[in-house]
């Protein structure tokens, strides 16, 4: 039994080649965990095959809310070892890992052969065969027992799962296989379960939990804030957001269009939004690249729009199923010419709801496009979170209800926002334009009009620096304090938050700042947060340090800045950040751009 496992959290990797059903096993276990009142998260790592390729379900369970995977996996359940090397860089095994494998398995990888952990060689496949079920259900039973779950609750979930899928005939053999796996675990739970059992209070809390993915959470935030139109073109890992919205939008009176490409999608969004409907599209890097021209039009013509980029590994087609934070600089600069616009990023699955709602609110309020940068990790992570109150932000656009006499669509106002007359409003007829224009939206090439409209479009965003703090509470999340700070954006916040907690346990008190509003830059606000900070660690999942360079170009930073970065698909982990923190607490002197792996 692994020695280093905290009884508070445990990480399991379930791997196997096509047909072993490891992803289903992961899903079932996560749901069991959720119904038990524990927290957990699940990500999937799959091979390039469309169907039946090798895959891994990566599961972490804890007695406290989770935002990220742990550094290492404590349990590895391997249905077989086919193509295991494709994952090995992503799945770091704990030195005390517990490996559960088939006794007849061949090609056992070196990391397993040489592990100092324990290896159980069991008749997994034979057991499955006997029951008429599949090896993944043997795994569900075996692992479920190790995790302290009961036979009946596991059976319940299997029943629920297959009846929802209208595959009732699979229920019986699956339960039989699960039970056989459960029994197989008997000799191995003598020293107790791997995880402390949930308390009664925890169990009772299960019904106040949600099992949700980041993509679902983004879509929920959009609907909550009043989003009613979506257009998109399938692309991994954003497709499932569109697929989730597709059947739900009509209930809210909205509509989703599968466009012929991303150019069409963004332009449909602009058309709908011009008509007055809060609208979004969801895509990933290649689609964002194609939307650049449309985003520029939204800036120039002042049309609200929400563009969700669920980032995957780039450049180009890259690695579609894996996560990275490499679209930051494109998102900020996504248009030719001076085209300031909103860029935001949710920093955990729960926050996907909030930041998306806020982004839509801001886009509508400031009449400009907002890019929301999620990523594959957040988007496709299935997570057990506490049910939350829905955020307050609504779309609410400044609308010109009627016109008497002269209506100027792009009038110069104090806050840079001009009331928008929607089509259908009598007397306010005008033509919006991506050509530079005067206040009346008429094309103009005059020096003065260009200068005034540029300044208007910039000002409405940059005035956010002067908004009252209560309107801006969501711009960043801050925890801890001290002379050393970690600065993150997006999904890198999870490991950083955990690192800061671990550091505190070591007596190192540091601050964590997670920036959710990336553009316009909140210079005064960050300055305030960095007051007294002497050393700053910038954490991001890129190779080139995009966040670091962005920060340098817009902010005054402390003397010592340490760049802690790593490209995907290996995730940023809590202990990677912790190491950087420990080091930062020691070092002094100007040491810009130290890269820590």
């Amino acid at each position: 039994m692994p020695r280093t496992i905290s009884r508070d959290t445990i990480s399991l990797a379930l791997t196997g080649s096509g047909g072993t059903g490891m992803l289903t096993a992961g899903d079932l276990l996560l749901r069991a965990v959720a119904r038990n009142g524990l927290y957990g998260l699940l990500t999937r790592s799959v091979g390039p095959q469309i169907r039946g390729g090798e895959s891994a379900a990566l599961l972490r369970i804890a007695h406290y809310p989770l935002e990220t995977h742990d550094d290492t996996f404590h349990v590895l359940f391997a249905a077989d070892w086919k193509n295991f090397d494709r994952f090995v860089g992503e799945i770091h095994l704990d030195e005390d890992v517990l490996v559960i494998m088939d006794e007849a398995a061949r090609d056992v990888p070196a990391v397993v052969e040489e592990t100092s952990g324990e290896v159980f060689r069991l008749p997994l496949h034979a057991t499955a065969k006997e029951t008429g079920g599949r090896v993944n259900m043997v795994g569900v039973g075996f692992l479920g027992r190790l995790l302290g779950m009961g036979k009946e609750e596991l059976a319940d979930i299997i029943r629920w799962f297959f009846s929802r899928k209208k595959r009732d005939r699979f229920i019986e053999p699956s339960i039989a296989a699960m039970e056989a796996g459960f029994d197989l675990a008997a000799p191995h739970v003598e020293k107790g379960a791997l995880l402390a059992a949930p308390s009664a209070t925890e169990r009772a809390a299960a019904k106040n939990r949600w099992l949700i993915s980041g993509n679902q959470a983004v879509a929920t935030g959009f609907l909550q804030a009043g989003g009613r139109f979506a257009a998109g073109y399938p692309i991994t890992p954003a497709t499932d957001m569109l697929e989730w919205l597709g059947p739900r939008l009509p209930k809210f009176g909205g509509v989703l269009v599968q466009a012929e490409d991303e150019l069409a999608a963004i332009n449909m969004v602009l058309g709908a939004s011009y008509g007055g409907l809060p609208a979004m599209t969801a895509t990933s890097g290649p689609g964002l690249s194609l939307m650049v021209e449309g985003i520029g039009l939204a800036v120039a013509a002042e049309i609200p729009a929400l563009i969700v980029d669920v980032q995957r590994i780039g450049p180009s087609t890259g690695i579609p199923t894996k996560s990275e934070q490499g679209d930051l600089m494109l998102a900020i600069n996504a248009a030719h010419g001076d085209a300031p616009h909103l860029v935001l990023a949710p920093d955990c699955v729960t926050d996907c709801i909030r930041t998306t709602a806020w982004a839509l609110h801001l886009a509508e309020r400031l009449q400009c496009p907002a890019i929301v940068l999620s990523d594959q990790k957040l988007g496709q992570m299935h997570s057990i979170i506490d049910a939350i109150e829905m955020p307050p932000w609504k779309a609410g656009r400044k609308v010109q209800e009627r016109c008497e006499g002269d209506y100027a669509r792009y009038s110069l106002t104090d806050d840079g926002v001009s009331p928008m007359a929607l089509p259908g409003t009598p007397g306010c007829m005008h033509t919006i334009d991506g050509l530079e224009h005067d206040e009346h939206a008429l094309p103009s090439s005059r020096v003065e009009d260009h200068a005034a409209q540029l300044e208007k479009r910039r000002q409405k965003l940059f005035l956010m620096e002067d908004w009252p703090d209560e309107d801006m509470t969501h711009w960043a999340d801050v925890q801890g304090g001290g002379e050393v700070a970690v600065l993150t954006w997006g999904s890198a916040a999870g490991p950083a938050r955990e690192a800061v907690r671990m550091a505190a346990e070591e007596g190192l008190h540091v601050k964590h700042i997670s920036m959710r509003l990336l553009f316009p830059p909140q210079r005064k606000r960050l300055s305030k947060l960095l007051d007294g900070v002497k050393r700053l660690i910038v954490v991001e999942q890129t190779h080139s340090g995009q966040f670091l360079h962005y920060l340098k170009s817009w902010f005054d930073l402390p003397e010592v800045v340490i760049s802690c970065r790593r490209p995907g698909p290996r995730p940023i982990t809590p202990r990677q950040v912790l190491r950087a923190l420990r080091e930062a607490c020691r070092i002094t002197g100007k040491e810009i751009e130290r890269v820590c792996q």
């Binding site: 809210f252 709908a272 829905m390 005008h430 033509t431």
Partner: protein, 278 residues
């Protein structure tokens, strides 16, 4: 309070002075649109005209309706999004031969399939006017210009044929110099429930001075409604190049647009969230 109708054709003009060259066919298109809209009694605020970039693309600002002057090639997706979000509006998309058949060709094909209830006006002058005289997809194979000294040397896009092949439900060609036929055609297109293509021969005296002869050459009313797509295609292929008329009109399902929500917003959201409880 919507506008008092009926309005006169000239009431549909905005008074903004067009940038078009003297004699440009686009003046005729502008006039025909206003002459189509006036007798329909459409309040001006209920009409939205969406365009791309080109001389043609300038048309919305010259109309006293709502307008959207967007990106080169993208008028159709904008118009589609607008119509599906605002089914109450009358949506007209307008573009040039380059705008719609070149950079916008994918949207053209797919809008024909999708069949949103919008009217597309293609102002075909067989040249890129705005960028000063390069061949467009409808240019003749031997239209020689600096960028292609021997001409495009390929068959022009036949917009009507492409529309028919893509499933369009209303297909017509008009001529900016034949105002009555054109105005009637645009009216029929706007009244047609579904996507309607009106390709308009609209001469560019500046870069295609020979097109001033179209006045004499265009044969009105040659294209007559066909009974089947196949027949419509045959007619388009066999009719003289410079002939006009409505060649195809058919009823087809429209795409889903926004509608009434199925209940109160908060209740809907609660129901949605309940789906997340494990």
């Amino acid at each position: 309070m919507t506008e008092q109708t009926p309005l006169k054709a000239k009431d549909y003009k905005s008074g903004v002075h067009p940038v078009w060259c003297p004699g440009c066919g686009d003046f005729g298109v502008l006039a025909a649109i206003t002459r189509a809209l006036a007798p329909m009694g459409l309040p001006r605020e209920q009409v939205a005209v969406v365009s791309g970039i080109g001389c043609s693309g300038r048309i919305p600002a010259y109309l006293a309706t709502y307008g959207f002057h967007g990106l080169h090639g993208r008028a159709l997706p904008v118009a589609t999004g607008l119509k599906l979000a605002r089914p109450d509006l009358t949506v007209i998309a307008a573009g040039g031969d380059g705008d719609i058949y070149s950079i916008g060709a994918a949207h053209f094909v797919h809008t024909c399939r999708r069949n949103p209830d919008i009217t597309l006006v293609v102002m075909d002058n067989r040249v890129y006017g705005m960028t000063k005289g390069q061949p467009s997809p409808t240019s003749e194979p031997d239209f020689a210009t600096p960028i292609q000294p021997e001409g495009p040397e390929m068959p022009p896009v036949n917009g009507l044929l492409l529309a028919l092949a893509s499933g369009a439900s209303f297909v017509a060609r008009g001529f900016s110099g034949h105002q009555e036929e054109l105005a009637a055609m645009i009216r029929a297109a706007v009244e047609h429930p579904g996507f309607a293509l009106v390709e308009i021969l609209s001469p560019c005296p500046t870069f295609r001075p020979e097109q001033t002869h179209w006045k004499r050459e265009v044969q009105a009313g040659v294209l007559k409604p066909a009974a089947s797509v196949q027949e419509a295609m045959a007619r388009v292929l066999s009719a003289p190049e410079l002939s006009t008329g409505i060649v195809w009109q058919a009823g087809r399902a429209l795409p889903h647009a926004v509608s009434e929500p199925s209940g109160d917003g908060d209740a809907l959201m609660r129901e949605l969230l309940a789906g997340f409880v494990p």
